[in-house]
């Protein structure tokens, strides 16, 4: 199953390098291998995105474990 997505990633990389074709910029390709169906949705830049939006609040790298709630979860487990 990861095979298909991995090869799609290789294809997109090659397209970016040779500058041909339409890359998946602004599109999310979704693959359901059990139904064997591909779907695509358009995705847009979020003007309020804290990283790439008009008024970014993230201007340097963060503590990503904390951002994903992992440290908090661990300390909660330890506390109990």
């Amino acid at each position: 199953m990861p095979g298909v997505i991995g090869v799609i990633q290789a294809t997109e990389t090659i397209k970016l390098i040779v500058e041909k074709g339409e890359p998946l910029i602004g599109r999310l390709l979704m693959y359901d291998s059990l139904a064997m169906r591909f779907r695509e949705i358009r995705i847009r830049r979020d003007p309020d995105c804290p990283l790439c939006g008009a008024n970014p609040t993230i201007t340097e790298l963060l503590n990503y474990e904390e951002f994903c709630g992992l440290e908090v979860a661990e300390s909660a487990a330890v506390g109990n």
Partner: protein, 307 residues
Amino acid sequence: MPKTQQDFLEEARREIPEVSVEEVEARRKRGDDFILLDVREKDEVRAGYIEGAVTIPRGFLEFQAAGHIPNTDKDVVVYCAGGARSLLAAKVLRSMGYDRVSSMAGGMTRWRDAGYAVVRDRQLSPEQLERYSRHFLLSQIGEKGQGKLLDAKVLLVGAGGLGSPSGLYLAAAGIGTLGIVDADVVDLSNLQRQVLHSTDRIGVPKTESAKQMINALNPDVQVRLHNERLTVENVMAIFQDYDIIVDGCDNFPTRYLVNDAAFFAGKPVVHGSIFQFDGQASVFKPQAGPCYRCLFPTPPPPGMVPS
């Protein structure tokens, strides 16, 4: 009466207008909308051609013209080494419906004499010409595209489920430099899907294992090993050496780290993710489109989606 070489040329001259090299250079400088078509043999083209020219050897003209120049209304200027082959080629194109076709008098010889710019692509060895020959059949790649692939530097974040197929195909295609970030070692349970590795390399660091497989497939690829986890401390230094980041992460903190770092470094991320039987793919290019956070501003609560 059998035709002579002169007959062919005279017939072509009656039908096809000729343009001077000065005229062609002037049109290029002005940015006029026209196509330059080089009909010389591949080895002549390799020695130097006019930048931006479409190249179709005379022998393939009838078969490839439509693929390279789909619009028969286009203004096409054909050139060759001396201006003879281009006349004959232009006559064939006219009969294929290209009404605005002309031939550059004097060809590349006169172009060079006039001192105009000549470009050369990265030279491929005979072995490379053979190895990548299937790419040259594709007009979108060709020898020029292959040169770009060989000059490219791509970083694979993760040499596991996603990094395996992407790494294999990128190596086969001839990506010149492939960096691999992975701190794990090969485990038996990986082999159900991680096709970059093998049974005899269980216990070997995944980066090492990947390098062995990749170089066995394609020795052209320079594999750079980053046998470590990506962290806030190392990510910017690692990313700066590469042109494109391929996201094969298996956990959310790393995914957000990759997204943010790539944005700060100005590098596009080719994103892929899988969960059970579903998968997703996209390309996040800074400034050109959304980033991972535009799509998923918050990560799932811990424990809800296993990494």
